[in-house]
Symmetry: C2
């Protein structure tokens, strides 16, 4: 006989109550109670993640938990908000185990501590289908200081944090290593480790907060592919852009993969899970923005210009790259 | 050929943007921005609902939507909070249709208007499993005025709104009408309609707000069965209670069903989905509480007394009723 699995109350008491902040009321009430400072507004980000779509059922539970939380913190980071807590909704399929939940909670605990962002509530239920997570994260910004998505102006400099495409390559690397090795087999071990780490564990760019609050006109995080997300941000303001491929920041590992398999440029520029930040900064504030962003790697990838066409990326010969889709689409 | 289904952007623009409040930023950003008045705190309720567990796949989509929102508003009502908005997370299985979504959004729109509680954000994704909803509702209370769950004191009067067990009978009625008719077939048509309405469309007791804020020591909503939920609230404060069955408020329809099938007393007292409010009121404030609650039907069902034992319900002969489980359990 297997050991009986914990009840809902035991799940909460054993695994989740240790992660709870004061706003969670010990997870003994049906609600959380959040005190928002009088001079601040609340920024709220909500993501739903499902097994087989956002993660694979066999992914390490610690990493499923951490990536789900980090994806939401990335949304807050792009809005220049400071995380204050999150809710966890968990729909567990019939075959869940105590070991899985313990590992999931352990991963979550690491990031609760790392980002000083406690669990403040949620709901755990039974699912007849796949594992589904729902995370809602709360952050605060001084009133009027949230960086919106619309509002890019002609001539604004477009900045991007970090490097792009690593997570997409990490995902493809996992598939490639399981089957045909091709470019994946040719990568150095450190390059492989780096890409897998970027796939499993994105880094929300919370350190960009002061630079965004001080100088950015608009921002969003890149979660569905650079080309599509940049297009979304620009289109809201009737703007477009021409980006030179040489100006798109790529990691050493991505360059290594690309040298071996040039067609990877498509997933690099159009696939999801980067969790970097793109933002528009008035040209006159660029120097101050770069100074304030000192702790975060940023690259100026182009300049916004009025226009209804989608942004284009040109290769070193000046030819626009053409892709089947600019970003990940659920439907 | 079928008409192509709308994209994620079209789903948002066509179905959900019309329900959005200002805090939703037109649903064009990844986040919502909520302004909490300086003298208030934010009360947050989160529920996850899955197909086959919380609703049936063939339930009318309008009613799935409305019940999901109302279940969360019921949590806010029990905390004496005033609803300000909600997030909707939607994991759609492969066979979703535009018609289903349109009906779902229509139901939601009715309750957005009815409760003056706009949509302020969310996430719509693909699910490889069952339809899963995640609703997070936000309400405000003046600082210090949220009614907690722990804190019942010896001698407090225990009050319950409305009537209990109707939703559980409504659910059983649906099953019974499909198969063996028994007690269900013997019910009058108005009694059947009433129980089905109570099953599909609970009424969050938001009108109890002032009475709770003014006079209640503790409160919670009854979502998993009266006996179990009352026990949960009392146990947090080291309290118990003896309840006389004659004091438990039942609807005419429930009495009709019970007269025909006495064993229904178990689901009436231990099954979920009532969404009524139980609260503890100091004896000295009882008269004022009853006066302030004038618009909401309330019944005094007993008195809290110190003790570690679970609360018991005694029949008219004074015998304690024994049930297999005091409330609904997911695991």
């Amino acid at each position: 006989m297997n050991k009986p699995r914990p009840s809902e109350d035991e799940i909460i008491a054993n695994f989740f109550a240790p992660l709870a902040g004061t706003a969670g009321l010990g997870l003994r009430d049906d609600t959380a109670l959040l005190d928002v400072p009088a001079d601040c507004e609340l920024v709220i980000s909500a993501d739903v993640l499902t097994s087989g779509v956002h993660f694979l059922v066999d992914d390490p539970p610690e990493l499923i938990a951490r990536k789900a939380l980090r994806a939401n913190l990335s949304d807050l980071a792009a809005k220049a908000a400071e995380p204050k807590g999150f809710l966890l909704g968990l729909a567990l399929p019939g075959d869940w185990t105590e070991e899985w939940l313990a590992a999931f909670a352990k991963g979550l605990a690491e990031d609760v501590a790392c980002f000083d962002c406690p669990l403040i509530g949620g709901d755990t239920v039974r699912s007849l289908g796949a594992l589904t997570l729902s995370i809602t994260a709360f952050g605060v910004v001084p009133k009027g200081k949230m960086v919106p998505r619309p509002g890019v102006e002609n001539g604004d400099f477009l900045y991007l944090t970090g490097t792009i495409g690593d997570a997409a390559l990490g995902l493809r690397l996992r598939r490639a290593l399981a089957g045909d090795r091709g470019w994946a087999g040719a990568l150095s071990q450190p390059a492989r480790d780096y890409l897998l780490m970027r796939h499993f564990l994105p880094l929300p760019r919370l350190a960009l907060r002061d630079a965004l609050r001080g100088f950015a006109r608009t921002a969003m995080d890149v979660s569905d592919g650079l080309l599509g997300d940049l297009g979304k941000m620009l289109a809201l303001s009737g703007m477009s852009a021409e980006i030179a491929l040489a100006d798109v920041p790529l990691s050493k590992a991505a360059r290594q993969a690309l040298a071996r398999e040039p067609s990877l440029i498509e997933p690099i520029l159009t696939s999801g899970d980067d969790y970097e930040v793109i933002c528009a900064v008035p040209a006159g504030a660029a120097e101050a923005f770069e100074r304030e962003a000192a702790d975060v790697p940023i690259t100026r990838i182009g300049v916004a210009k009025a226009g209804a066409e989608r942004p284009r990326i040109r290769d070193t010969a000046g030819r626009p790259l053409a892709f089947s889709a600019a970003s990940y689409r659920h439907f």
